[in-house]
Protein backbone atom coordinates (compact mmCIF):
# COMPACT_ATOMS: atom_id res chain seq x y z
CA UNK A 1 0.00 0.00 0.00
CA UNK A 2 3.02 2.23 -0.15
CA UNK A 3 2.22 4.83 -2.84
CA UNK A 4 5.23 5.69 -5.02
CA UNK A 5 6.16 9.14 -6.34
CA UNK A 6 4.15 10.22 -9.35
CA UNK A 7 0.83 8.69 -8.38
CA UNK A 8 -0.41 11.75 -6.54
CA UNK A 9 -0.51 15.30 -7.77
CA UNK A 10 1.68 17.88 -6.00
CA UNK A 11 -1.35 19.50 -4.46
CA UNK A 12 -2.59 16.17 -3.12
CA UNK A 13 0.85 15.49 -1.70
CA UNK A 14 0.98 18.92 -0.11
CA UNK A 15 -2.46 18.56 1.44
CA UNK A 16 -1.55 15.20 2.91
CA UNK A 17 1.77 16.42 4.27
CA UNK A 18 -0.12 19.30 5.83
CA UNK A 19 -2.63 16.85 7.26
CA UNK A 20 0.06 14.61 8.67
CA UNK A 21 2.10 17.41 10.20
CA UNK A 22 -0.20 18.27 13.11
CA UNK A 23 -0.42 14.60 14.01
CA UNK A 24 3.35 14.25 13.89
CA UNK A 25 3.73 17.28 16.05
CA UNK A 26 1.14 16.10 18.53
CA UNK A 27 2.61 12.59 18.57
CA UNK A 28 6.08 13.90 19.32
CA UNK A 29 4.84 16.10 22.11
CA UNK A 30 2.67 13.47 23.73
CA UNK A 31 5.27 10.76 23.52
CA UNK A 32 7.92 13.05 24.93
CA UNK A 33 5.69 13.83 27.87
CA UNK A 34 4.92 10.18 28.35
CA UNK A 35 8.32 8.65 27.88
CA UNK A 36 10.68 11.50 28.83
CA UNK A 37 14.18 10.26 28.23
CA UNK A 38 13.05 6.83 27.13
CA UNK A 39 11.58 8.31 23.97
CA UNK A 40 14.63 7.92 21.77
CA UNK A 41 15.60 4.33 22.55
CA UNK A 42 12.05 3.02 22.68
CA UNK A 43 10.74 4.59 19.49
CA UNK A 44 13.94 3.80 17.60
CA UNK A 45 14.05 0.13 18.45
CA UNK A 46 10.32 -0.26 17.98
CA UNK A 47 10.48 1.43 14.60
CA UNK A 48 13.18 -1.05 13.67
CA UNK A 49 10.87 -3.82 14.83
CA UNK A 50 8.02 -2.45 12.70
CA UNK A 51 10.30 -2.31 9.73
CA UNK A 52 11.25 -5.96 10.18
CA UNK A 53 7.66 -7.07 10.77
CA UNK A 54 6.63 -5.43 7.51
CA UNK A 55 9.01 -7.82 5.81
CA UNK A 56 7.39 -10.92 7.25
CA UNK A 57 5.40 -13.18 4.97
CA UNK A 58 2.27 -14.25 6.77
CA UNK A 59 0.61 -17.43 5.51
CA UNK A 60 -3.10 -16.98 5.02
CA UNK A 61 -5.85 -19.44 4.14
CA UNK A 62 -5.52 -20.44 0.55
CA UNK A 63 -1.81 -21.15 0.68
CA UNK A 64 -0.53 -17.69 -0.18
CA UNK A 65 1.26 -15.18 1.97
CA UNK A 66 0.95 -11.45 2.44
CA UNK A 67 2.84 -8.70 4.23
CA UNK A 68 1.44 -7.26 7.43
CA UNK A 69 1.73 -3.64 8.53
CA UNK A 70 2.01 -4.26 12.24
CA UNK A 71 0.11 -1.05 12.97
CA UNK A 72 -2.32 -2.66 15.41
CA UNK A 73 0.33 -4.31 17.52
CA UNK A 74 2.19 -1.03 17.66
CA UNK A 75 -0.90 0.82 18.83
CA UNK A 76 -1.89 -1.83 21.31
CA UNK A 77 1.53 -2.04 22.91
CA UNK A 78 2.69 1.56 22.69
CA UNK A 79 -0.51 3.51 22.37
CA UNK A 80 -1.55 5.46 19.27
CA UNK A 81 0.83 8.39 19.47
CA UNK A 82 4.03 6.42 19.88
CA UNK A 83 2.72 4.11 17.21
CA UNK A 84 2.33 7.06 14.84
CA UNK A 85 5.96 8.02 15.43
CA UNK A 86 7.37 4.52 15.20
CA UNK A 87 5.52 3.66 12.02
CA UNK A 88 6.29 6.98 10.37
CA UNK A 89 9.96 6.37 11.12
CA UNK A 90 9.83 2.92 9.60
CA UNK A 91 7.98 4.25 6.55
CA UNK A 92 10.56 6.97 6.08
CA UNK A 93 13.39 4.46 6.02
CA UNK A 94 11.47 2.21 3.66
CA UNK A 95 10.78 5.09 1.32
CA UNK A 96 14.17 6.75 1.21
CA UNK A 97 16.47 3.82 1.60
CA UNK A 98 14.54 0.95 0.15
CA UNK A 99 12.47 2.78 -2.42
CA UNK A 100 9.26 1.34 -1.00
CA UNK A 101 6.95 4.30 -1.30
CA UNK A 102 7.77 7.73 -2.65
CA UNK A 103 9.25 10.82 -1.06
CA UNK A 104 6.65 13.29 -2.28
CA UNK A 105 4.05 10.76 -1.16
CA UNK A 106 5.62 10.11 2.24
CA UNK A 107 3.12 12.44 3.86
CA UNK A 108 0.28 10.52 2.26
CA UNK A 109 1.67 7.13 3.19
CA UNK A 110 2.30 8.19 6.77
CA UNK A 111 -1.17 9.71 6.93
CA UNK A 112 -2.83 6.55 5.66
CA UNK A 113 -0.86 3.88 7.41
CA UNK A 114 0.84 5.43 10.42
CA UNK A 115 -1.80 7.97 11.43
CA UNK A 116 -5.19 6.72 10.28
CA UNK A 117 -4.07 3.14 10.83
CA UNK A 118 -2.85 3.72 14.37
CA UNK A 119 -5.91 5.69 15.39
CA UNK A 120 -8.39 3.18 13.98
CA UNK A 121 -6.48 0.30 15.54
CA UNK A 122 -6.40 1.97 18.92
CA UNK A 123 -10.04 3.02 18.96
CA UNK A 124 -11.35 -0.32 17.75
CA UNK A 125 -9.17 -2.22 20.19
CA UNK A 126 -10.23 -0.12 23.16
CA UNK A 127 -13.85 -0.27 22.12
CA UNK A 128 -13.98 -4.03 21.79
CA UNK A 129 -11.55 -5.02 24.52
CA UNK A 130 -13.16 -2.74 27.04
CA UNK A 131 -12.16 -3.71 30.53
CA UNK A 132 -11.63 -7.37 29.79
CA UNK A 133 -8.83 -9.13 31.65
CA UNK A 134 -5.42 -8.83 30.10
CA UNK A 135 -5.36 -12.52 29.25
CA UNK A 136 -8.91 -12.78 28.02
CA UNK A 137 -9.61 -14.05 24.54
CA UNK A 138 -11.75 -11.00 23.98
CA UNK A 139 -8.54 -9.01 23.69
CA UNK A 140 -7.23 -11.35 21.03
CA UNK A 141 -10.34 -10.86 18.95
CA UNK A 142 -10.22 -7.14 19.60
CA UNK A 143 -6.62 -7.05 18.42
CA UNK A 144 -7.33 -9.07 15.32
CA UNK A 145 -10.30 -6.94 14.37
CA UNK A 146 -8.47 -3.73 15.07
CA UNK A 147 -5.67 -4.84 12.77
CA UNK A 148 -8.11 -5.83 10.08
CA UNK A 149 -10.03 -2.58 10.25
CA UNK A 150 -6.91 -0.47 10.55
CA UNK A 151 -5.31 -1.81 7.42
CA UNK A 152 -8.55 -1.54 5.52
CA UNK A 153 -9.08 1.98 6.76
CA UNK A 154 -5.61 2.85 5.53
CA UNK A 155 -6.29 1.14 2.23
CA UNK A 156 -9.54 3.03 1.83
CA UNK A 157 -7.78 6.34 2.35
CA UNK A 158 -5.16 5.39 -0.21
CA UNK A 159 -7.82 4.22 -2.61
CA UNK A 160 -9.73 7.48 -2.32
CA UNK A 161 -6.58 9.54 -2.76
CA UNK A 162 -5.63 7.61 -5.86
CA UNK A 163 -9.15 7.45 -7.21
CA UNK A 164 -9.64 11.18 -7.03
CA UNK A 165 -6.60 11.96 -9.17
CA UNK A 166 -8.14 11.47 -12.63
CA UNK A 167 -11.22 13.40 -11.56
CA UNK A 168 -9.19 16.52 -10.89
CA UNK A 169 -5.87 16.29 -12.66
CA UNK A 170 -5.89 15.70 -16.38
CA UNK A 171 -4.28 17.28 -19.39
CA UNK A 172 -6.23 19.56 -21.63
CA UNK A 173 -7.04 16.55 -23.76
CA UNK A 174 -8.36 14.62 -20.78
CA UNK A 175 -5.45 12.25 -20.11
CA UNK A 176 -4.99 11.59 -16.39
CA UNK A 177 -1.68 13.07 -15.23
CA UNK A 178 -1.09 10.96 -12.14
CA UNK A 179 -2.89 7.86 -10.92
CA UNK A 180 -5.02 6.94 -13.91
CA UNK A 181 -7.97 5.10 -12.42
CA UNK A 182 -11.13 6.78 -11.15
CA UNK A 183 -12.79 6.04 -7.82
CA UNK A 184 -15.08 3.45 -9.34
CA UNK A 185 -12.09 1.30 -10.23
CA UNK A 186 -9.53 2.30 -7.62
CA UNK A 187 -11.67 1.75 -4.57
CA UNK A 188 -12.94 -1.74 -5.36
CA UNK A 189 -9.66 -2.90 -6.79
CA UNK A 190 -7.65 -1.81 -3.77
CA UNK A 191 -10.24 -2.74 -1.21
CA UNK A 192 -10.72 -6.27 -2.48
CA UNK A 193 -7.05 -7.01 -2.05
CA UNK A 194 -7.06 -5.60 1.45
CA UNK A 195 -10.35 -6.98 2.62
CA UNK A 196 -8.97 -10.35 1.69
CA UNK A 197 -5.21 -10.98 1.55
CA UNK A 198 -3.60 -8.08 3.33
CA UNK A 199 -6.40 -7.76 5.84
CA UNK A 200 -6.17 -11.40 6.78
CA UNK A 201 -2.43 -11.18 7.21
CA UNK A 202 -2.89 -8.21 9.51
CA UNK A 203 -5.63 -10.02 11.39
CA UNK A 204 -3.42 -13.05 11.91
CA UNK A 205 -0.42 -11.04 13.08
CA UNK A 206 -2.36 -8.73 15.38
CA UNK A 207 -4.37 -11.44 17.06
CA UNK A 208 -1.47 -13.85 17.11
CA UNK A 209 1.01 -11.47 18.70
CA UNK A 210 -1.44 -10.41 21.39
CA UNK A 211 -2.23 -14.05 22.11
CA UNK A 212 1.48 -14.73 22.37
CA UNK A 213 2.09 -11.78 24.66
CA UNK A 214 -0.75 -12.82 26.92
CA UNK A 215 1.20 -15.96 27.67
CA UNK A 216 4.77 -14.74 27.48
CA UNK A 217 4.81 -11.10 28.51
CA UNK A 218 1.42 -9.71 29.55
CA UNK A 219 2.84 -6.54 31.04
CA UNK A 220 3.42 -5.28 27.50
CA UNK A 221 -0.34 -5.14 27.05
CA UNK A 222 -0.83 -2.96 30.04
CA UNK A 223 -0.63 0.41 28.39
CA UNK A 224 -3.89 0.13 26.47
CA UNK A 225 -5.68 -1.68 29.28
CA UNK A 226 -5.92 1.02 31.92
CA UNK A 227 -7.49 0.03 35.18
CA UNK A 228 -7.28 -3.67 34.42
CA UNK A 229 -5.20 -5.59 36.96
CA UNK A 230 -2.30 -7.65 35.73
CA UNK A 231 -2.82 -11.36 36.19
CA UNK A 232 -0.99 -12.87 39.14
CA UNK A 233 1.78 -15.30 38.34
CA UNK A 234 -0.29 -18.24 39.50
CA UNK A 235 -3.17 -17.52 37.20
CA UNK A 236 -1.00 -17.34 34.11
CA UNK A 237 -0.88 -21.01 33.25
CA UNK A 238 0.19 -22.29 29.87
CA UNK A 239 -2.55 -24.89 30.06
CA UNK A 240 -5.32 -22.34 30.20
CA UNK A 241 -7.00 -21.97 26.85
CA UNK A 242 -6.30 -18.52 25.59
CA UNK A 243 -5.72 -17.16 22.17
CA UNK A 244 -7.09 -18.67 19.02
CA UNK A 245 -8.78 -21.80 20.20
CA UNK A 246 -10.79 -20.23 22.95
CA UNK A 247 -11.74 -17.44 20.61
CA UNK A 248 -13.22 -19.76 18.06
CA UNK A 249 -16.83 -19.12 19.06
CA UNK A 250 -16.16 -15.44 18.66
CA UNK A 251 -14.56 -15.98 15.27
CA UNK A 252 -17.57 -17.92 14.17
CA UNK A 253 -19.80 -15.10 15.27
CA UNK A 254 -17.68 -12.57 13.39
CA UNK A 255 -17.70 -14.70 10.28
CA UNK A 256 -21.44 -15.15 10.37
CA UNK A 257 -21.87 -11.43 10.77
CA UNK A 258 -19.74 -10.75 7.74
CA UNK A 259 -21.63 -13.26 5.70
CA UNK A 260 -25.07 -12.23 6.74
CA UNK A 261 -24.62 -8.47 6.56
CA UNK A 262 -24.47 -8.20 2.79
CA UNK A 263 -27.31 -10.60 2.45
CA UNK A 264 -29.24 -8.67 5.01
CA UNK A 265 -28.59 -5.38 3.36
CA UNK A 266 -29.51 -6.67 0.00
CA UNK A 267 -32.49 -8.73 0.84
CA UNK A 268 -34.46 -5.56 0.45
CA UNK A 269 -32.26 -4.17 -2.25
CA UNK A 270 -32.78 -3.64 -5.91
CA UNK A 271 -30.92 -5.49 -8.60
CA UNK A 272 -27.36 -4.34 -9.09
CA UNK A 273 -28.01 -2.98 -12.52
CA UNK A 274 -24.52 -2.04 -13.69
CA UNK A 275 -22.56 -4.62 -11.77
CA UNK A 276 -22.00 -8.09 -13.03
CA UNK A 277 -19.38 -10.70 -12.38
CA UNK A 278 -17.91 -9.96 -15.77
CA UNK A 279 -16.62 -6.62 -14.49
CA UNK A 280 -14.48 -8.55 -12.06
CA UNK A 281 -12.56 -9.90 -14.96
CA UNK A 282 -11.49 -6.52 -16.32
CA UNK A 283 -7.72 -6.30 -16.38
CA UNK A 284 -7.87 -3.02 -14.53
CA UNK A 285 -9.52 -4.51 -11.51
CA UNK A 286 -7.28 -7.54 -11.52
CA UNK A 287 -4.10 -5.49 -11.82
CA UNK A 288 -5.20 -3.24 -9.02
CA UNK A 289 -5.76 -6.29 -6.89
CA UNK A 290 -2.27 -7.49 -7.67
CA UNK A 291 -0.89 -4.11 -6.66
CA UNK A 292 -2.88 -3.92 -3.46
CA UNK A 293 -1.98 -7.42 -2.50
CA UNK A 294 1.76 -6.81 -2.78
CA UNK A 295 2.14 -8.89 -5.89
CA UNK A 296 0.08 -11.81 -4.73
CA UNK A 297 -1.70 -12.92 -7.85
CA UNK A 298 -5.48 -12.80 -7.67
CA UNK A 299 -7.51 -15.68 -9.00
CA UNK A 300 -7.33 -15.89 -12.76
CA UNK A 301 -11.02 -15.58 -13.17
CA UNK A 302 -13.83 -14.60 -10.87
CA UNK A 303 -15.03 -17.46 -8.77
CA UNK A 304 -17.81 -19.00 -10.74
CA UNK A 305 -19.96 -18.83 -7.67
CA UNK A 306 -19.69 -15.10 -7.92
CA UNK A 307 -21.63 -15.06 -11.10
CA UNK A 308 -24.38 -17.13 -9.67
CA UNK A 309 -24.44 -15.12 -6.48
CA UNK A 310 -24.91 -11.91 -8.32
CA UNK A 311 -28.08 -13.34 -9.71
CA UNK A 312 -29.18 -14.42 -6.24
CA UNK A 313 -28.74 -10.91 -5.01
CA UNK A 314 -31.05 -9.52 -7.59
CA UNK A 315 -33.54 -8.42 -5.08
CA UNK A 316 -37.25 -8.95 -5.24
CA UNK A 317 -38.03 -5.79 -3.33
CA UNK A 318 -36.88 -2.86 -5.45
CA UNK A 319 -38.50 -0.14 -3.42
CA UNK A 320 -36.52 -0.69 -0.25
CA UNK A 321 -32.98 -0.25 -1.47
CA UNK A 322 -31.03 2.97 -1.15
CA UNK A 323 -29.57 4.01 -4.46
CA UNK A 324 -25.94 3.58 -3.44
CA UNK A 325 -26.40 -0.17 -3.30
CA UNK A 326 -26.67 -0.14 -7.02
CA UNK A 327 -23.19 1.35 -7.44
CA UNK A 328 -20.61 -1.21 -8.61
CA UNK A 329 -18.13 -0.14 -5.96
CA UNK A 330 -20.48 -0.93 -3.14
CA UNK A 331 -21.32 -4.20 -4.75
CA UNK A 332 -17.67 -5.15 -4.75
CA UNK A 333 -17.36 -4.28 -1.10
CA UNK A 334 -20.26 -6.39 -0.08
CA UNK A 335 -19.21 -9.39 -2.08
CA UNK A 336 -15.79 -9.11 -0.56
CA UNK A 337 -17.23 -9.05 2.94
CA UNK A 338 -19.29 -12.05 2.07
CA UNK A 339 -16.19 -13.75 0.74
CA UNK A 340 -14.25 -13.07 3.91
CA UNK A 341 -16.96 -14.44 6.07
CA UNK A 342 -17.09 -17.60 4.02
CA UNK A 343 -13.33 -17.95 4.17
CA UNK A 344 -13.26 -17.62 7.93
CA UNK A 345 -16.07 -20.11 8.36
CA UNK A 346 -14.41 -22.54 6.02
CA UNK A 347 -11.07 -22.17 7.77
CA UNK A 348 -12.65 -22.90 11.11
CA UNK A 349 -14.42 -25.89 9.63
CA UNK A 350 -11.32 -27.25 7.97
CA UNK A 351 -9.18 -26.77 11.06
CA UNK A 352 -11.77 -28.52 13.17
CA UNK A 353 -12.05 -31.41 10.72
CA UNK A 354 -8.29 -31.72 10.41
CA UNK A 355 -7.88 -31.77 14.16
CA UNK A 356 -10.47 -34.49 14.41
CA UNK A 357 -8.88 -36.55 11.66
CA UNK A 358 -5.47 -36.42 13.26
CA UNK A 359 -6.43 -37.18 16.76
CA UNK A 360 -4.89 -40.46 17.78
CA UNK A 361 -6.80 -42.99 19.86
CA UNK A 362 -4.96 -41.86 22.99
CA UNK A 363 -6.18 -38.32 22.47
CA UNK A 364 -2.90 -36.79 21.35
CA UNK A 365 -2.41 -35.23 17.95
CA UNK A 366 -0.36 -36.75 15.15
CA UNK A 367 1.56 -34.37 12.97
CA UNK A 368 -0.89 -33.38 10.27
CA UNK A 369 0.07 -32.95 6.66
CA UNK A 370 -0.54 -29.60 5.08
CA UNK A 371 -4.19 -29.28 4.28
Amino acid sequence: MHIPDGYLSPSTCAILYASAAPFWYAALRRTKKLLFTRLVPLISVFAAFSFVVMMFNIPIPGGTTAHPLGVAIASIVLGPWASILALSTALFIQAVFFGDGGITTLGANCFNMAIVGSLIAYLVYRAIAGRAAITSSRRVVAAALSGYLAINGAALCAAVELGLQPHFFTTAAGAPLYAPYPLSIAVPAIMIGHLTFAGLAELVVSGGVVAYLQRANPSLLRFTAPGVPLPQEETLPMERESGWRAARPLWTAVALLLVLTPLGLLAAGKAWGEWTARDFSTPAARQQIAKASHNVAPPAQPPSGFERLSAVWTAPFPNYSPSFIRKPAFGYLLSAMFGIGIIILLSILIAWLAAKAHRRPDGTHARPEET
Binding site: L8, S44, V52, M55, G102, W244, A284
Partner: protein, 277 residues
Protein backbone atom coordinates in the same frame (compact mmCIF):
# COMPACT_ATOMS: atom_id res chain seq x y z
CA UNK B 1 2.90 -40.38 6.46
CA UNK B 2 6.14 -39.34 4.79
CA UNK B 3 8.37 -37.13 6.93
CA UNK B 4 10.55 -35.11 4.70
CA UNK B 5 12.15 -31.69 5.00
CA UNK B 6 10.22 -29.23 2.94
CA UNK B 7 12.70 -27.31 0.87
CA UNK B 8 10.31 -25.32 -1.22
CA UNK B 9 9.68 -21.59 -1.05
CA UNK B 10 7.72 -21.66 2.14
CA UNK B 11 6.90 -18.52 4.04
CA UNK B 12 10.00 -18.80 6.21
CA UNK B 13 12.25 -19.00 3.20
CA UNK B 14 10.61 -16.05 1.54
CA UNK B 15 10.88 -13.95 4.65
CA UNK B 16 14.52 -14.73 5.25
CA UNK B 17 15.25 -14.10 1.58
CA UNK B 18 13.91 -10.57 1.92
CA UNK B 19 16.04 -10.06 5.02
CA UNK B 20 19.15 -11.07 3.16
CA UNK B 21 18.22 -8.80 0.29
CA UNK B 22 17.88 -5.85 2.64
CA UNK B 23 21.32 -6.50 4.10
CA UNK B 24 22.87 -6.75 0.66
CA UNK B 25 21.48 -3.41 -0.33
CA UNK B 26 23.26 -1.69 2.51
CA UNK B 27 26.59 -3.23 1.64
CA UNK B 28 26.36 -1.97 -1.89
CA UNK B 29 25.17 1.44 -0.82
CA UNK B 30 28.00 1.89 1.63
CA UNK B 31 30.50 0.99 -1.05
CA UNK B 32 29.23 3.41 -3.67
CA UNK B 33 29.04 6.16 -1.10
CA UNK B 34 32.79 5.86 -0.69
CA UNK B 35 33.60 5.95 -4.39
CA UNK B 36 35.12 9.04 -5.95
CA UNK B 37 32.35 10.31 -8.15
CA UNK B 38 30.80 13.70 -8.75
CA UNK B 39 27.90 13.48 -6.34
CA UNK B 40 29.97 11.86 -3.63
CA UNK B 41 31.95 15.06 -3.36
CA UNK B 42 28.93 17.27 -2.90
CA UNK B 43 27.79 18.40 0.53
CA UNK B 44 24.95 16.17 1.75
CA UNK B 45 22.65 19.10 2.39
CA UNK B 46 23.04 20.32 -1.17
CA UNK B 47 22.34 16.85 -2.45
CA UNK B 48 19.26 16.44 -0.30
CA UNK B 49 17.76 19.76 -1.28
CA UNK B 50 18.88 19.48 -4.88
CA UNK B 51 17.55 16.04 -5.51
CA UNK B 52 14.31 16.85 -3.77
CA UNK B 53 14.10 19.92 -6.00
CA UNK B 54 14.29 17.61 -8.99
CA UNK B 55 11.96 14.90 -7.71
CA UNK B 56 9.10 17.31 -7.17
CA UNK B 57 8.90 18.59 -10.76
CA UNK B 58 9.41 15.04 -12.00
CA UNK B 59 6.35 13.99 -10.05
CA UNK B 60 4.39 17.12 -10.92
CA UNK B 61 5.22 18.29 -14.43
CA UNK B 62 2.63 18.20 -17.14
CA UNK B 63 5.08 17.77 -19.94
CA UNK B 64 6.68 14.56 -21.17
CA UNK B 65 9.73 16.48 -22.33
CA UNK B 66 10.38 17.88 -18.88
CA UNK B 67 10.06 14.55 -17.13
CA UNK B 68 12.14 12.86 -19.78
CA UNK B 69 14.76 15.56 -19.50
CA UNK B 70 15.00 15.06 -15.74
CA UNK B 71 15.34 11.34 -16.30
CA UNK B 72 18.22 11.86 -18.68
CA UNK B 73 19.83 14.23 -16.20
CA UNK B 74 19.52 11.58 -13.51
CA UNK B 75 21.24 9.03 -15.72
CA UNK B 76 23.99 11.51 -16.47
CA UNK B 77 24.56 12.21 -12.78
CA UNK B 78 24.64 8.48 -12.12
CA UNK B 79 27.29 7.96 -14.74
CA UNK B 80 29.38 10.80 -13.34
CA UNK B 81 29.07 9.35 -9.85
CA UNK B 82 30.20 5.82 -10.66
CA UNK B 83 26.80 4.30 -10.04
CA UNK B 84 26.62 1.23 -12.21
CA UNK B 85 23.85 0.99 -14.77
CA UNK B 86 23.46 -2.66 -14.01
CA UNK B 87 22.46 -1.84 -10.48
CA UNK B 88 20.10 0.91 -11.60
CA UNK B 89 18.54 -1.46 -14.04
CA UNK B 90 18.10 -4.29 -11.62
CA UNK B 91 17.17 -2.38 -8.49
CA UNK B 92 15.22 0.50 -9.92
CA UNK B 93 14.14 0.40 -13.54
CA UNK B 94 13.01 -3.16 -13.85
CA UNK B 95 11.46 -3.17 -10.39
CA UNK B 96 9.41 -0.11 -11.31
CA UNK B 97 8.32 -1.64 -14.58
CA UNK B 98 7.19 -4.79 -12.85
CA UNK B 99 5.14 -2.82 -10.38
CA UNK B 100 3.97 0.45 -11.89
CA UNK B 101 4.24 -0.86 -15.41
CA UNK B 102 1.79 -3.60 -14.64
CA UNK B 103 -0.53 -1.18 -12.91
CA UNK B 104 -0.41 1.24 -15.81
CA UNK B 105 -1.02 -1.46 -18.38
CA UNK B 106 -4.82 -1.37 -18.33
CA UNK B 107 -4.94 2.42 -18.46
CA UNK B 108 -4.99 2.74 -22.26
CA UNK B 109 -7.97 0.42 -22.41
CA UNK B 110 -9.90 1.83 -19.54
CA UNK B 111 -9.48 5.57 -20.01
CA UNK B 112 -12.13 7.35 -22.01
CA UNK B 113 -11.10 9.45 -24.91
CA UNK B 114 -10.08 9.41 -28.50
CA UNK B 115 -9.79 5.81 -29.70
CA UNK B 116 -6.74 5.30 -31.80
CA UNK B 117 -6.49 1.57 -32.12
CA UNK B 118 -7.55 -1.89 -31.20
CA UNK B 119 -5.78 -5.00 -29.98
CA UNK B 120 -5.76 -7.84 -32.56
CA UNK B 121 -7.48 -10.80 -30.85
CA UNK B 122 -9.10 -9.39 -27.75
CA UNK B 123 -10.62 -6.49 -29.56
CA UNK B 124 -9.97 -4.09 -26.68
CA UNK B 125 -9.73 -0.52 -27.89
CA UNK B 126 -7.17 1.90 -26.56
CA UNK B 127 -7.21 5.67 -26.41
CA UNK B 128 -4.49 8.24 -26.86
CA UNK B 129 -5.37 9.70 -23.49
CA UNK B 130 -4.97 6.30 -21.93
CA UNK B 131 -1.59 5.79 -23.54
CA UNK B 132 -0.45 9.20 -22.43
CA UNK B 133 -1.65 8.53 -18.90
CA UNK B 134 0.26 5.28 -18.70
CA UNK B 135 3.31 6.99 -20.09
CA UNK B 136 3.14 9.80 -17.54
CA UNK B 137 2.86 7.40 -14.65
CA UNK B 138 5.69 5.10 -15.64
CA UNK B 139 8.05 7.90 -16.58
CA UNK B 140 7.37 9.79 -13.38
CA UNK B 141 7.99 6.84 -11.16
CA UNK B 142 11.15 5.82 -13.00
CA UNK B 143 12.59 9.32 -12.81
CA UNK B 144 11.72 9.91 -9.17
CA UNK B 145 13.01 6.51 -8.14
CA UNK B 146 16.28 7.00 -10.01
CA UNK B 147 16.85 10.38 -8.37
CA UNK B 148 16.10 9.03 -4.92
CA UNK B 149 18.45 6.11 -5.39
CA UNK B 150 21.15 8.50 -6.52
CA UNK B 151 20.89 10.38 -3.26
CA UNK B 152 21.09 7.24 -1.20
CA UNK B 153 23.89 5.58 -3.13
CA UNK B 154 26.19 8.59 -3.11
CA UNK B 155 25.70 9.67 0.48
CA UNK B 156 26.31 7.76 3.70
CA UNK B 157 22.98 7.21 5.32
CA UNK B 158 23.80 9.09 8.48
CA UNK B 159 24.74 12.12 6.43
CA UNK B 160 21.41 12.02 4.67
CA UNK B 161 19.75 12.08 8.06
CA UNK B 162 21.85 14.90 9.42
CA UNK B 163 21.10 16.88 6.26
CA UNK B 164 17.42 16.72 7.22
CA UNK B 165 18.18 19.40 9.79
CA UNK B 166 18.26 21.86 6.94
CA UNK B 167 14.59 21.03 6.39
CA UNK B 168 13.91 21.85 10.03
CA UNK B 169 13.38 18.25 11.05
CA UNK B 170 13.82 18.20 14.84
CA UNK B 171 17.13 16.86 16.17
CA UNK B 172 15.35 14.21 18.19
CA UNK B 173 13.79 12.80 15.02
CA UNK B 174 17.15 12.73 13.27
CA UNK B 175 18.57 10.82 16.23
CA UNK B 176 15.66 8.40 16.22
CA UNK B 177 16.06 7.79 12.51
CA UNK B 178 19.77 7.09 12.92
CA UNK B 179 19.24 4.70 15.78
CA UNK B 180 16.38 2.97 13.98
CA UNK B 181 18.59 2.40 10.97
CA UNK B 182 21.34 1.02 13.15
CA UNK B 183 19.03 -1.41 14.92
CA UNK B 184 17.11 -2.51 11.82
CA UNK B 185 20.09 -4.63 10.93
CA UNK B 186 20.43 -6.12 14.37
CA UNK B 187 16.77 -7.07 14.43
CA UNK B 188 16.91 -8.37 10.87
CA UNK B 189 19.73 -10.62 11.90
CA UNK B 190 17.93 -11.72 15.06
CA UNK B 191 14.78 -12.51 13.09
CA UNK B 192 16.81 -14.26 10.45
CA UNK B 193 18.49 -16.46 13.06
CA UNK B 194 15.13 -17.23 14.63
CA UNK B 195 13.69 -18.34 11.34
CA UNK B 196 16.73 -20.35 10.34
CA UNK B 197 16.66 -22.27 13.57
CA UNK B 198 12.96 -22.94 13.14
CA UNK B 199 13.53 -24.18 9.64
CA UNK B 200 16.20 -26.59 10.76
CA UNK B 201 13.84 -28.01 13.38
CA UNK B 202 10.94 -28.43 11.01
CA UNK B 203 10.38 -31.92 9.73
CA UNK B 204 7.61 -32.36 7.26
CA UNK B 205 5.12 -29.70 6.39
CA UNK B 206 3.11 -27.68 8.82
CA UNK B 207 -0.56 -27.01 8.51
CA UNK B 208 -1.69 -23.55 7.61
CA UNK B 209 -2.71 -22.72 11.13
CA UNK B 210 0.55 -24.02 12.53
CA UNK B 211 2.48 -21.83 10.14
CA UNK B 212 0.39 -18.84 11.17
CA UNK B 213 1.14 -19.58 14.78
CA UNK B 214 4.85 -19.77 13.99
CA UNK B 215 4.71 -16.45 12.20
CA UNK B 216 2.77 -14.74 14.96
CA UNK B 217 4.94 -16.25 17.69
CA UNK B 218 8.08 -15.13 15.87
CA UNK B 219 6.71 -11.61 15.76
CA UNK B 220 5.89 -11.88 19.44
CA UNK B 221 9.34 -13.12 20.40
CA UNK B 222 10.92 -10.40 18.32
CA UNK B 223 8.80 -7.81 20.09
CA UNK B 224 9.91 -9.04 23.51
CA UNK B 225 13.52 -8.82 22.39
CA UNK B 226 12.77 -5.36 21.06
CA UNK B 227 11.67 -4.15 24.46
CA UNK B 228 14.59 -5.74 26.25
CA UNK B 229 16.97 -4.19 23.75
CA UNK B 230 15.44 -0.76 24.13
CA UNK B 231 15.72 -0.93 27.93
CA UNK B 232 19.38 -1.88 27.71
CA UNK B 233 20.11 0.81 25.15
CA UNK B 234 18.42 3.31 27.41
CA UNK B 235 20.75 2.36 30.24
CA UNK B 236 23.75 2.57 27.96
CA UNK B 237 22.74 6.03 26.84
CA UNK B 238 22.23 7.21 30.39
CA UNK B 239 25.58 5.80 31.35
CA UNK B 240 27.24 8.18 28.89
CA UNK B 241 25.42 11.22 30.13
CA UNK B 242 22.18 11.18 28.17
CA UNK B 243 19.55 13.25 29.93
CA UNK B 244 16.93 13.61 27.22
CA UNK B 245 18.55 16.07 24.86
CA UNK B 246 20.50 14.97 21.82
CA UNK B 247 23.29 16.99 20.34
CA UNK B 248 24.84 16.83 16.92
CA UNK B 249 28.33 17.96 16.00
CA UNK B 250 28.22 21.16 14.00
CA UNK B 251 28.42 20.57 10.33
CA UNK B 252 31.20 21.10 7.90
CA UNK B 253 31.19 24.30 5.93
CA UNK B 254 29.96 24.67 2.37
CA UNK B 255 32.72 25.07 -0.17
CA UNK B 256 32.49 27.00 -3.40
CA UNK B 257 31.99 23.77 -5.28
CA UNK B 258 28.93 23.03 -3.17
CA UNK B 259 27.44 26.45 -3.88
CA UNK B 260 27.93 25.96 -7.58
CA UNK B 261 26.22 22.61 -7.55
CA UNK B 262 23.39 24.05 -5.48
CA UNK B 263 22.97 26.83 -8.01
CA UNK B 264 22.89 24.22 -10.76
CA UNK B 265 20.19 22.23 -9.04
CA UNK B 266 18.15 25.35 -8.42
CA UNK B 267 18.31 26.45 -12.03
CA UNK B 268 17.35 23.08 -13.43
CA UNK B 269 14.56 22.72 -10.92
CA UNK B 270 13.17 26.16 -11.66
CA UNK B 271 13.31 25.50 -15.38
CA UNK B 272 11.58 22.16 -14.93
CA UNK B 273 8.82 23.76 -12.92
CA UNK B 274 8.37 26.54 -15.46
CA UNK B 275 8.24 24.41 -18.54
CA UNK B 276 6.26 21.71 -16.88
CA UNK B 277 3.49 23.83 -15.47
Amino acid sequence: MANRKHRGRGFLERTTASFVDALERTFYAEETARADGLLQRVDPRVKLLGILALIVPAAAARSFKVIGGLFILAILLAALSQVSFGVLLKRVWIAVLLFTGVIALPAPFVTQGHVIGQLPWLGWTFTSQGLASAGYLVLRVETAATLCVLLVLTTPWIDVLKALRVLQVPVVMVTILGMTYRYVFLLLETAHDMFESRRSRMVGKLTGSERRRVAAASAGVLMSKTFDLSSDVYLAMQSRGFRGEVYLLDESRMRRFDWIILAGFTLVSAAAFWWGR
